[in-house]
């Protein structure tokens, strides 16, 4: 495959160049925030830090963190770095608990954000010859607008289907010969499942690549989607708080996502102590937005648990790579004192040949936490023999026990009985909170 980049001089810049950009932009950004965001200035003062203390990337650790709680407290305007008259757009998170996060954008912010998305599309092989179907939701959710803008920048013919209406999605893919699909991985899996049911084989589906993000998905799910749709599936990562999708994206190596370091400085910290961890360590991902004007967050704690690596990548991009998040600490369930990520359960199911549609129900019975994994019976797994089904169920229970370190119940439920999601999948129902 020909190596192609949307902005080659940036994406393949030397480590020294990247550091020089980050040093310069960080110093400027800290001053911008100090001068324009009283909420954060107060936090800096409380921490005894002034803009003069920050001379470059190596001083980043001195700055206080911004957390989701800060966003809630400062809602809606408290963290803005520009007056409203300079802003042209808001986007909002798709469904975290509590108050929604509202992020503001200047035209310049949108421009840079769309550049990031364009880099992701080109990394997935996109050119102006491609037809790019954006099946992420349009609206407050950043998925649709971000990829839509990126697709325009690359020059793809863009089909803004937004999410939902599966029949129409498939009709456009077939009739307009869409080659790139952008949506959540769970919706990609659902589209694949629907097309398979219609009798379409991968070679009858014109798609060649998919850019999937906005929720956790495993390598097994990737293989599943790639096989059903006959595509290469690329991961994309982002948060509304930082712009949206495109903070980082995968290249053809599919071994992690390159963080757009000319716009974001990434750190990994110990989620308990806040201490910065060395490269390669697993911990919470923290981002500092160094080019954003309207919503310039410094040291924002993402709650995503992952690793960073600066190992050279065969694609030629030099920007640091982050591993697929192993889970969000918001998603992390503590069951009988054990940390459980839904992605671990998904891995077990897919390894055993089950479809990726499942639901995790956590409850508390007689003061003990219970974990029930509901799995849809599939035509492939069903047999007339109760004993064989029993064996399958026992195998899942055993595999879950060795993966999670605690015993879970597996319930087989009727096909299609778990509600399909057209946006983010509802994987966990925690009845303990009700």
């Amino acid at each position: 495959m020909e190596k192609r980049y949307y902005q080659p001089e940036i994406e393949t810049a030397s480590q020294e160049q990247i550091k020089a950009w980050q040093d310069e932009r960080l110093v400027k950004q800290v001053k911008h925030v100090w001068d324009n965001v009283p909420y954060y200035k107060k936090k800096m003062q409380e921490a005894g830090v002034t803009p003069e203390d920050i001379k470059g990337r190596d001083d980043l650790y001195k700055l206080p963190f911004v957390t989701k709680a800060d966003l809630r407290e400062a809602y809606p305007y408290g963290l803005m770095g520009k007056p409203l008259k300079d802003c042209v757009r808001i986007q909002s998170t798709s469904g975290t608990t509590g108050k929604r996060v509202v992020a503001f954008y200047t035209q310049h912010d949108i421009d840079l954000w769309e550049d990031c998305c364009a880099r992701a599309i080109v990394a997935a092989g996109g050119t102006n010859e491609d037809v790019c179907q954006v099946s992420y939701g349009y609206g407050l959710f950043t998925g649709g607008p971000g990829l839509n803008g990126g697709s325009h920048k690359v020059g793809c013919l863009t089909i803004p289907t937004s999410s939902g209406n599966t029949e129409r999605q498939i009709m456009f893919i077939q009739d307009l010969q869409a080659t790139i699909l952008c949506c959540t991985p769970s919706y990609a899996a659902y589209l694949g499942e629907s097309m398979k049911e219609m009798g379409l084989t991968p070679d009858q589906i014109p798609l060649k690549a998919g850019i999937f993000g906005a929720e956790a998905w495993s390598e097994e799910m990737r293989r599943d989607i790639e096989n059903t749709l006959g595509i290469k599936a690329y991961d994309i990562y982002g948060l509304t708080e930082l712009s949206g999708p495109g903070v980082s994206f995968e290249c053809e190596e599919q071994t992690g996502m390159h963080i757009n370091e000319d716009h974001f400085i990434a750190e990994i910290i110990d989620p308990d102590t806040g201490e910065v961890l060395p490269e390669g360590a697993t911990g919470e991902l923290v981002f500092t937005a160094i080019t954003k004007e309207a919503f310039p967050l410094l040291r924002y704690r993402t709650r995503d648990i992952c690793r960073l690596t600066r190992k050279a990548c065969s694609c030629g991009r030099t920007h640091v790579k982050m591993s697929k998040p192993m889970g969000r600490s918001d998603d992390m369930l503590i069951i009988r004192g054990v940390n459980v990520f839904p992605s671990q359960i998904e891995t077990v199911l897919l390894n055993n040949g089950y479809a990726a549609n499942y639901q995790i129900i956590v409850d508390r019975v007689n003061n003990t936490d219970t974990l029930d994994v509901q799995v849809e019976m599939t035509a492939e797994m069903f047999t007339d023999n109760l004993g064989k089904i029993d064996e399958l169920q026992k195998k899942l229970v055993d595999d879950l026990r060795s993966m999670l370190g605690l015993s879970a119940k597996v319930t087989l439920v009727a096909p299609k009985s778990i509600v399909r999601s057209e946006g983010k999948a509802v994987r966990v129902i925690d009845k303990r909170k009700i």
Binding site: M377, T378, A379, F382, D384, L386, V413, A414, P415, S417
Partner: protein, 144 residues
């Protein structure tokens, strides 16, 4: 020689059997026999119908997961000892029965039918035939 039984996955909760039989009723499918194997969470409904292809198609369209399993059908006189005679033959031939169920013989009151699920239905049918007992085929079941 063997009969095609349709096995359907249903959840073990109120109304799930009814929802399935509603699909069959709506499509005018006539059941000859039915048996239910249940676990705590789900069950397998095993049915013998007049038209296997039709029934399998409408169930699939309605979203049910099913499989088609070959089973043996044996007509036995509805008299004391009738079943025992058949079981004795299978026992002598060392044939293991995975499950079995009975239904009464439709239009003729003198016969009952037994459905057997065995590992090797050819071997079982041969053992029965050697003792003068014929198995029932799909057509005969459809015409009961």
């Amino acid at each position: 020689m063997s009969i095609k039984q349709i096995s359907v996955f249903v959840e073990n909760k109120p109304g799930s059997m009814c929802a399935m039989t509603a699909v069959l009723a709506e499509h005018n499918i006539d059941m000859r026999a039915l048996s239910l194997a249940e676990t705590k969470d789900f069950g397998i409904v095993r049915i013998i119908v007049d038209d296997v292809f039709d029934a399998a198609t409408v169930l699939k369209d309605a979203g049910y997961v099913h499989s088609v399993t070959p089973v043996l059908g044996v007509s036995i006189p509805d008299t004391p000892g009738g079943l025992n005679k058949v079981l004795q033959i299978l026992s002598d031939a060392n044939i293991n029965i995975e499950y079995m169920y009975a239904f009464l013989g439709g239009k003729s009151a003198e016969h009952a039918y037994m459905i057997f699920r065995v590992e090797d239905d050819t071997k079982a049918a041969a053992a029965l035939r050697a003792q003068g007992i014929e198995t029932v085929d799909q057509e005969e079941i459809a015409n009961i």
